[in-house]
């Protein structure tokens, strides 16, 4: 049981880093509270596994501190941090039975035999492994093997945290759901901090209370699934979360207007105050396809667009349209009329987000 704090943490695999690109983990501060269920979400190569290995102690960070309950553990190996980690591919000890697999960490800690017995049976019950206890671990199915790997983490008393590194990659889709629920159940029962690495937003959202979205070695947003969806703090979060991702339009700022080709949009005052004097490389407007308003008829607010394509995805449609030269998407309900050739769309103010240099600019009073 522990609260895990990352303090100005950074990591590089290169010996002489000069550019931020040389860092697998760029400087970050982050608190994982005791008992939380967290997901670390990001594309392949964004540094999420590196971060996980730093937390578990398989890797020593090159800069900054990692604290467990206020104690610096930078150079402590995993065994001394009392952490459990479940890997992408199930790691089991082939020659042992399921029972011996589960008992292995306890035996390595010289736990008395009668305690091993009761603890292993308890965990096997929770994971529904009891009927398999005397089977050779080698002959199990992939999901059973993964449960055994999880079980080895759970048998130990007082683990500080359990880390999952994309643990459901090799599991069949129907079983994925079951195992995820099991994890959630275990989390509620044991009140252990769990950090779950994945590149699947659905997996992250169903497992975690709070998701940290990672991009190029940084946590670009840390929040509930709801916050990530409604208020992406970074263009990457907008793009990565949601299906399809957020629409972005590159615009220029001219006095009080955003200029996009021949279109002019008035900049809300509160935002204008903030960005007017800001040096910037890019300004983007972002809106989720769910929030694009599609009108049935022409009206004063709406822009006329060319409909390029429409996909029927069962309960909803994705309409692709062209606004000037930019391809954008809108999500329509199944009972909504699907426009052909021409459509009229508008962007409701509260859902139109402004990104300067890829980061969200928010009006203060909200």
């Amino acid at each position: 049981m522990a609260e895990i704090v990352l303090n100005a943490l950074a990591h590089t695999y290169s010996k002489k880093p000069n550019a931020p690109q040389d860092y697998a983990i760029r400087q970050m501060n982050q608190v994982w509270e005791q008992g939380g269920a967290y997901a670390l979400l990001g594309p392949s190569g964004c540094g999420k596994s590196t971060l996980l290995n730093i937390i578990s102690g398989l890797l020593e960070p090159s800069d900054g501190e990692i604290l467990f309950d206020g104690v610096k553990v930078n150079s402590l190996p995993p065994e001394e941090r009392n952490i459990a980690q479940v890997f992408q591919f199930p790691v089991i000890y082939d020659t042992m039975t399921v029972f011996d697999n589960l008992a292995f960490p306890l035996r390595n800690m010289k736990t008395p035999t009668h305690l091993i017995q009761s603890k292993v049976h308890e965990i096997a019950d929770i994971l529904e492994l009891s009927p398999l206890l005397h089977k050779k671990a080698k002959n199990l199915t992939a999901d059973e093997k993964q449960k055994v790997s999880m079980g080895r983490g759970l048998v130990r008393d007082n683990v500080s945290a359990i880390l999952f590194d994309e643990p459901l990659t090799v599991i069949d889709p129907q079983l994925k759901w079951k195992l995820r629920r099991k994890l959630k159940q275990i989390h509620d029962q044991f009140n252990i901090t769990m950090i779950y690495v994945t590149h699947d937003q659905l997996e992250a959202a169903t497992f975690a209370d709070k998701i940290a979205v990672m991009y190029e070695g940084q946590i670009v947003q840390f929040g509930s699934p709801h916050e990530l969806f409604e208020n992406p703090k970074h263009t990457f979060v907008g793009y990565f979360i949601g299906s399809p991702g957020m629409n972005f339009i590159n615009v220029q700022l001219e006095e009080q207007h955003f200029i996009f080709e021949d279109m002019k949009l008035k900049v809300p005052e509160k935002i204008l105050d903030k960005i007017q004097h800001l040096p910037y490389e890019s300004i983007k407007l972002g809106i989720r396809p769910e929030f694009v308003h599609v009108w049935d008829k022409k009206n004063d607010e709406a822009y006329e667009v060319d409909v390029i394509d429409s996909e029927d995805l069962g309960t909803y449609h994705i309409m692709t349209f062209k606004l000037r030269n930019q391809l954008l998407k809108a999500r329509l309900h199944e009972d909504q009329r699907i426009p052909k050739h021409k459509a009229w769309i508008s962007f409701p103010d509260q859902w139109l987000k402004v990104y300067v240099n890829e980061y969200l600019v928010e009006a203060d009073d909200e």
């Binding site: 952490i83 890997f87 591919f89 790691v91 000890y93 042992m96 390595n108 800690m109 790997s149």
Partner: protein, 288 residues
């Protein structure tokens, strides 16, 4: 309903059949043919049935050669296998050092068998050989042409030097194929170095070790060129192994019939031992 009888597909098997016939069955059958006859010259031969087999099985010299052969194979294997595993475990995992190590370790494997014999023959000479000379200077009475123990020790040392690299390379490749996650999981489970070897590395090496042991058993059981060059089978017949006894019989004395019977028995022993070993291991793995 008329089923058309057409067995032309059998012709497709013909090339393989011919290949196997000429590469294995026909040569083997000529040996079988000789083994049941007494051949005097190209025109004079008598059918003798199983006479030669009985004679060979009762030949005291050959029985002793067989015992020596088993002793030799057993001794070399029980040194080479653990040593090979040990070397593989100690080898660097990546980088230049790993490549360099692989090349150095593979070197003995690239040397022709009779050259190996010659190298060791010179190596052990007390006048010009490094080892022979050093031992003599240290006051050790070492002579492979007089002392059978010295001869045996040298042949075993030579075989270990020559073939341990094979086991080491096989094990090295086996070890490299173990995913990093296994070692990480073991650290998290607080496994000791010994437990990692016993429960992760050794099980993952089983398959390459089966191949390695089979190869080394067959090869060591058929050893010929190296002891022939090094000791010539001596002193006396102390290092005369089966293949050398066979060669003497077939080529030296031209006893074609007994040599043929001997060959068949020799072949069957290797086949039987390999089969027993392989099925035992496979059954052990299947259990539970």
């Amino acid at each position: 309903m008329n089923k058309i009888e057409n067995n032309k597909a059998w012709f497709l098997v013909l090339p393989v059949f011919i290949l196997v016939a000429f590469s294995a069955i026909i040569p083997l059958m000529t040996v079988v043919n000789y083994s049941v006859q007494d051949v005097f010259d190209t025109n004079t031969r008598y059918f003798v049935g199983t006479e030669w087999f009985k004679a060979i099985l009762n030949d005291a010299a050959l029985q002793s050669a067989l015992m020596k052969q088993f002793m030799f194979s057993f001794t070399t294997l029980s040194i080479e296998i653990p040593l090979g595993i040990g070397i593989a475990l100690l080898m660097p995992k990546r980088g230049m050092a790993a490549s360099l190590c692989l090349v150095l370790i593979a070197l003995p494997l690239l040397i022709p068998l009779n050259v190996v014999g010659t190298i060791w023959q010179i190596f052990t000479r007390s006048d010009i050989g490094l080892m022979g000379w050093s031992l003599r200077e240290m006051g050790v009475a070492y002579n492979i042409s007089r002392n059978p123990v010295d001869a045996w020790a040298t042949i075993i040392l030579m075989d270990v030097w020559h073939w341990t690299p094979l086991i080491a390379l096989l094990c090295y490749s086996g070890l490299r194929s173990i995913p990093e996650a296994y070692y990480q999981a073991a650290r998290i489970d607080r496994a000791s170095r010994w437990a990692i070897f016993r429960y992760i590395q050794l099980p993952k090496l089983t398959n390459v070790l089966i191949i390695g042991i089979l190869l080394r058993f067959m090869d060591s059981f058929m050893i010929y060129a190296e002891p022939f060059v090094l000791t010539g089978g001596g002193p006396g017949s102390s290092t005369t192994f089966l293949s050398q006894a066979l060669t003497t019989m077939a080529i030296g004395q031209f006893d074609v019939g007994p040599a043929a019977a001997f060959s068949i028995i020799y072949f069957l022993i290797i086949l039987a031992v390999s089969w027993v070993f392989y099925t035992t291991i496979m059954n052990m793995q299947k259990e539970k």
